[in-house]
C-alpha cells in the first residue's frame, strides 16, 4: 500500500458502528438467546440433581465431606509399594492404591511401547511368515475385549499348580498359583545410592551432549562422547557402589513348607493385569507405528540413500523424525488408554485406586466422595500425560517459518 494511502483520512475513519437490533434476524441476539436457553436448561438439570442428592443424603443420614480420610481403614492390601497396615488411615490406603495404579501404568506404557514397536515393524517385514504372524497377533488381540483377556490370563495363572508342584522353567524361577518367584539382589543402601548416581550421571550426560552439539555447531568438530558416557553411566554408579562396601548377595526363593521363602514375587493379579494390558495395547501401538512408517514417503528413503547415509542413519535421522510426527498424537491416546484401562484391575482383584476407593465407599457409604476421588485421580494422571506428550509433540514438530 503506498504511503499516501495511509495518510488518506478515509482509512483513519473507524468502521460504522452497528448497534444491536432487538430482532430474531440479528445473529448476535439469536446466539445470546440460544446460549441463555441452553445454559439455563443445563443449569436447571444440574440444580435438580444436586437438590435431589442433598435431600436423599439427608433422608438416608449419609455423612458428607472428606472427614473419613483420617479414620482407620481396616482394609487389608496385598501389595503395597509403601509400608501399609490395615491400622492406617483411608488416606494412606488410597495413596497405596494410586501408587499401584501408577506402577502398572508406567511399566505397562514402557513394555507395550517396546512390544508394539517390534510388532509394528515386524508387520512391515519382508519375511512373509513374520509379517503374517504379526498381522494375526494384531487382528486377534484387537478384536477381543480387554476385560475378557484379563479374565483369561487370570484364569490361566490360577490354573497353575500350587507351590509344591511349581513349574520351574529355569534357574530359581518358579511359576505357581501364588505368582512368579524369582531371585533378586538383597537390597542394601549401597544399591539405592548407585541408582541415584546412575540418574545423576544420565542427567550430566544429557547436559554434556548438549554442550558438545553446541561446540559442533560452532567449530564443526564433534568431541567424542562415548568415553564420557561410559564413565558417567557405568563408572560413577560402580564407584559409588564400591565406595559403600560393594555389598552383593542373591536372594533366591526356596520352598519351605507350603510356600516359598525369599526372592522377589510378582503376584498373579499384577502379572495377569500387566500381561493383559501390554498384549492388548501393543496391538494398537503396532498399528500406529506401522501407519507412521508407511506415512513417510518412499522418496525420503531414496533421497537419504542418495546422500550416502547408511540404512541405520536413514532410519534414525530421516525416517523416524518424520514418522514420529505422525505417531506421537495417537500414541498419546494409547498411553491414556493404558492408564484408564488399568482400572479394570478391580475385576481380577489387583488393588489399584478404583478397587480401594470402591471398598472405601462400600465401607463408609460415602459414594459421592469415593467416585469423586477416582475421577480426580484419573483426570490428574490423564492431564499430566497429555501435557507431557503435547510438550514432546511441540518439541519434535516441524519448525515452520
Amino acid at each position: 500500500m503506498p504511503q499516501d494511502a495511509i495518510a488518506d483520512p478515509r482509512y483513519a475513519r473507524a468502521a460504522p458502528r452497528r448497534g444491536v437490533r432487538l430482532s430474531w434476524r440479528d445473529p448476535t441476539v439469536r446466539s445470546i438467546v440460544w446460549q441463555i436457553v441452553i445454559i439455563g436448561l443445563v443449569g436447571f438439570v444440574v440444580w435438580w440433581l444436586v437438590s435431589n442428592t442433598m435431600r436423599n443424603l439427608e433422608v438416608r443420614r449419609i455423612a458428607t465431606g472428606f472427614g473419613f480420610l483420617n479414620r482407620e481403614a481396616g482394609l487389608p492390601i496385598a501389595e503395597a509399594m509403601i509400608p501399609y497396615t490395615p491400622a492406617d488411615t483411608y488416606a494412606r490406603a488410597l495413596l497405596v492404591g494410586i501408587l499401584n495404579t501408577l506402577r502398572v501404568a508406567v511399566i505397562g506404557i514402557v513394555l507395550s511401547t517396546i512390544l508394539g514397536t517390534v510388532i509394528g515393524i515386524a508387520r512391515l517385514s519382508q519375511n512373509w511368515l513374520l509379517a503374517k504372524l504379526a498381522a494375526i497377533y494384531v487382528e486377534l488381540l484387537r478384536d477381543l475385549p480387554l476385560l475378557l483377556q484379563l479374565l483369561f490370563w487370570y484364569a490361566l495363572m490360577q490354573g497353575l499348580p500350587g507351590p509344591r508342584q511349581a513349574v520351574n522353567p529355569f534357574g530359581s524361577v518358579f511359576l505357581s498359583n501364588r505368582g512368579i518367584k524369582f531371585p533378586w539382589i538383597a537390597w542394601e543402601p549401597a544399591h539405592t545410592a548407585a541408582l541415584v548416581a546412575l540418574v545423576a550421571g544420565t542427567a550430566a550426560l544429557v547436559l554434556l551432549a548438549r554442550r558438545f552439539t553446541a561446540r559442533q555447531m560452532a567449530t564443526g568438530v564433534r568431541p567424542k562422547l562415548w568415553p564420557w558416557a561410559l564413565a558417567l553411566l557405568l563408572g560413577l554408579p560402580a564407584a559409588v557402589w564400591a565406595a559403600m562396601g560393594a555389598p552383593f548377595a542373591i536372594d533366591a526363593p526356596v520352598l519351605r513348607g507350603f510356600n516359598f521363602q525369599g526372592g522377589a514375587t510378582i503376584t498373579p493379579e499384577f502379572a495377569a493385569l500387566l500381561l493383559g494390558l501390554v498384549l492388548y495395547t501393543a496391538a494398537f501401538i503396532a498399528e500406529i507405528v506401522r501407519a507412521g512408517i508407511l506415512a513417510v514417503h518412499t522418496g525420503q528413503w531414496e533421497a537419504a540413500g542418495a546422500l550416502g547415509l547408511s540404512r541405520g542413519e536413514q532410519l534414525r535421522l530421516i525416517i523416524l523424525p518424520q514418522a514420529l510426527r505422525v505417531i506421537i498424537p495417537p500414541m498419546t491416546s494409547q498411553y491414556l488408554n493404558i492408564t484408564k484401562n488399568s482400572s479394570l484391575a478391580v475385576a481380577i482383584g489387583y488393588q489399584d485406586i478404583v478397587s480401594i476407593a470402591n471398598t472405601t465407599l462400600n465401607q463408609t457409604g460415602q459414594a459421592i466422595e469415593g467416585i469423586a476421588i477416582i475421577m480426580a485421580v484419573y483426570l490428574t494422571i490423564s492431564l499430566s500425560i497429555s501435557l507431557f506428550m503435547n510438550w514432546y509433540n511441540a518439541r519434535i514438530a516441524l519448525k515452520e517459518r
Binding site: 445473529p27 446466539s31 440460544w34 446460549q35 441452553i38 445454559i39 443445563v42 440433581l49 435431589n52 442428592t53 435431600r55 436423599n56 443424603l57 433422608v59 519382508q126 519375511n127 512373509w128 511368515l129 513374520l130 504372524l133 487382528e139 486377534l140 484387537r142 478384536d143 477381543l144 475385549p145 480387554l146 476385560l147 475378557l148 479374565l151 483369561f152 484364569a155 490361566l156 490360577q158 490354573g159 484408564k340 484401562n341 482400572s343 479394570l344 478391580v346 475385576a347 478404583v354 470402591n358 465407599l361 459414594a367 459421592i368 467416585i371 477416582i374 475421577m375 484419573y378 483426570l379 490423564s382 492431564l383
Partner: protein, 387 residues
C-alpha cells in the same frame, strides 16, 4: 565412405564392449512357488534363520493346541445339572480341554437366566440384531428408510424380550442375560450416542456461542479423562441418589445411560475431526447460498464430514462393543459375565479357559466383521487417492 568397424556387433548399447568370454548364468527364478519362497522367506541368511525359528514355534504351538483342544479334549461327561460328574475333565486337566462345559452350559452363557422354554425369543433377537447390522452395512440401503427399519426392529426386539403382549409370557428384565444384553447395550448405545455426539461436536465448534462451546469442551474432556468404570460405578451407586425419592430406574438402563454418555464423548471427537477436515469453502459456499445454520449443517456439512470419518466411526463402534463387557463389574449379566458365572459351580470350577475361549470366539466374530468392513470401506473411499 568408410565402412563401420567390424567389431560393432560386440559393443553394447552404450558403446562398451560386452564381456563374452563366459556364458552368463540364468537369472534366479523369480516366479512360481519357488521364486515366491525365495523372495519372501529365504532372501538372506538372516531371513532364513527368522523363518526357520518362527516355523518351529508355529508348528510346535499348533501341535500342542490340536492335542489340547481336539485329541485329548473331553467332549461329553456323564450326568447333568447338579449331578454332573466332571472327574473325566479333572483327570485330564492341563493336557486336554473340557468342551463338555460348553455342551452343558452354552444355553446359560448365551441367554443367561432367561426362562429355558422361552429362549427362542432371545435367539430370535440375536438374529434380528445381526440382520439389522447387515442391512445397515450395505450402502444400497443408506437412505431415509433405514431409520424406520431401525425403529421397527428395536421395537420388535423390545416386544420379544419383555413379552407380555401377543400371548408372549412376560419376562422381567432381571432375568435377561448373555449375548442379547451385550447386543442391546452396544446397539442402543450407538443409536443414542451417535446423534448426541453430532450435537456435541457441532457445539464444540460454535465460536459465536462461547458458553455452549465451553459446555461441550468440559463434557468431552471430563468424560474422556476418566475410565468407563468410574462412570459405571456412578451409574450403579451414585445415580439412585440423584433422583427424587420413589423414582427408580433399573440397573440395566442406568448402565446404558453411562455407556451412551461415555461413547458420545469419544464419537464427538471423531465427528469433530470430520468437521475440521471439511474445506472452509464448503461452509462459505453454503453461507453464500443463504442457507440457515441447520440447512447448512444438514445438507452441506454433515453429509460430507461424516463420510470422511466413517472408518474411525466404525472403529469407535468396535471399541464400544468391547467396552460393554465392563458392565460385568457392576453385576449385569452380559455375555462375559454369564461365561464367568458358568464356572462358579464346584463341579465346573477351574475350567475358565474353555468358557472364555467360547465367548472369545463370539466377540471375535462380531468385532472382526466390523473391522474388516471398516477396512474395506476405507479402501473404497481412498480409491481416488491411489495411483
Amino acid at each position: 565412405m568408410t565402412p563401420p568397424p567390424a567389431q560393432s556387433a560386440t559393443l553394447g548399447a552404450n558403446g562398451m564392449p560386452v564381456p563374452s568370454e563366459e556364458p552368463r548364468r540364468p537369472p534366479v527364478l523369480s516366479v512360481g512357488l519357488l521364486g515366491w519362497l525365495r523372495a519372501n522367506l529365504f532372501s538372506s541368511w538372516l531371513n532364513t534363520a527368522v523363518t526357520l525359528v518362527l516355523a518351529y514355534f508355529v508348528i510346535s504351538w499348533a501341535l500342542g493346541l490340536i492335542s489340547w483342544g481336539v485329541i485329548n479334549a473331553v467332549w461329553d461327561v456323564p450326568g447333568t445339572g447338579a449331578q454332573v460328574d466332571t472327574s473325566a475333565c479333572r483327570a485330564i486337566r492341563g493336557e486336554g480341554a473340557c468342551w463338555a462345559l460348553i455342551g452343558e452350559k452354552y444355553r446359560f452363557i448365551l441367554f443367561g437366566l432367561y426362562p429355558f422354554d422361552e429362549q427362542w425369543r432371545p435367539a430370535l433377537v440375536v438374529v434380528i440384531f445381526v440382520a439389522l447390522y447387515v442391512v445397515s452395512a450395505m450402502r444400497r440401503f443408506w437412505n431415509r428408510w433405514l431409520g424406520l427399519v431401525w425403529i421397527a426392529a428395536l421395537t420388535v426386539i423390545g416386544v420379544l424380550m419383555w413379552g407380555g403382549v401377543f400371548g408372549l409370557r412376560f419376562v422381567e428384565q432381571e432375568r435377561w442375560g448373555g449375548l442379547p444384553i451385550t447386543l442391546i447395550l452396544s446397539t442402543f448405545g450407538i443409536a443414542f450416542a451417535f446423534p448426541l455426539s453430532i450435537l456435541v461436536a457441532l457445539g464444540r465448534r460454535q465460536t459465536s456461542m462461547p458458553a455452549v462451546k465451553a459446555l461441550c469442551v468440559v463434557y468431552i474432556e471430563l468424560i474422556r479423562g476418566v475410565p468407563l468404570i468410574s462412570l459405571l460405578f456412578m451409574a450403579s451407586v451414585m445415580f439412585p441418589l440423584f433422583l427424587p425419592e420413589g423414582m427408580n430406574i433399573d440397573k440395566l438402563l442406568r448402565a446404558q445411560v453411562a455407556i451412551i454418555l461415555f461413547a458420545a464423548a469419544y464419537l464427538a471427537e471423531v465427528v469433530r475431526g470430520g468437521l475440521q477436515a471439511l474445506p472452509r469453502g464448503q461452509y462459505e459456499a453454503a453461507d453464500a447460498l443463504g442457507l440457515s445454520y441447520w440447512q447448512k449443517t444438514g445438507f452441506i456439512v454433515l453429509p460430507q464430514a461424516l463420510r470422511l470419518v466413517i472408518p474411525p466411526l466404525v472403529n469407535t463402534f468396535i471399541g464400544m462393543f468391547k467396552d460393554t463387557s465392563l458392565v460385568l463389574i457392576i453385576g449385569i449379566f452380559d455375555l462375559l459375565n454369564t461365561a464367568k458365572t458358568s464356572i462358579i459351580e464346584p463341579a465346573w470350577q477351574g475350567f475358565g479357559i474353555e468358557a472364555y475361549l467360547f465367548v472369545s470366539a463370539i466377540y471375535f466374530v462380531f468385532c472382526f466383521a466390523m473391522s474388516k468392513y471398516s477396512q474395506d470401506l476405507e479402501a473404497e473411499f481412498n480409491r481416488h487417492r491411489r495411483r
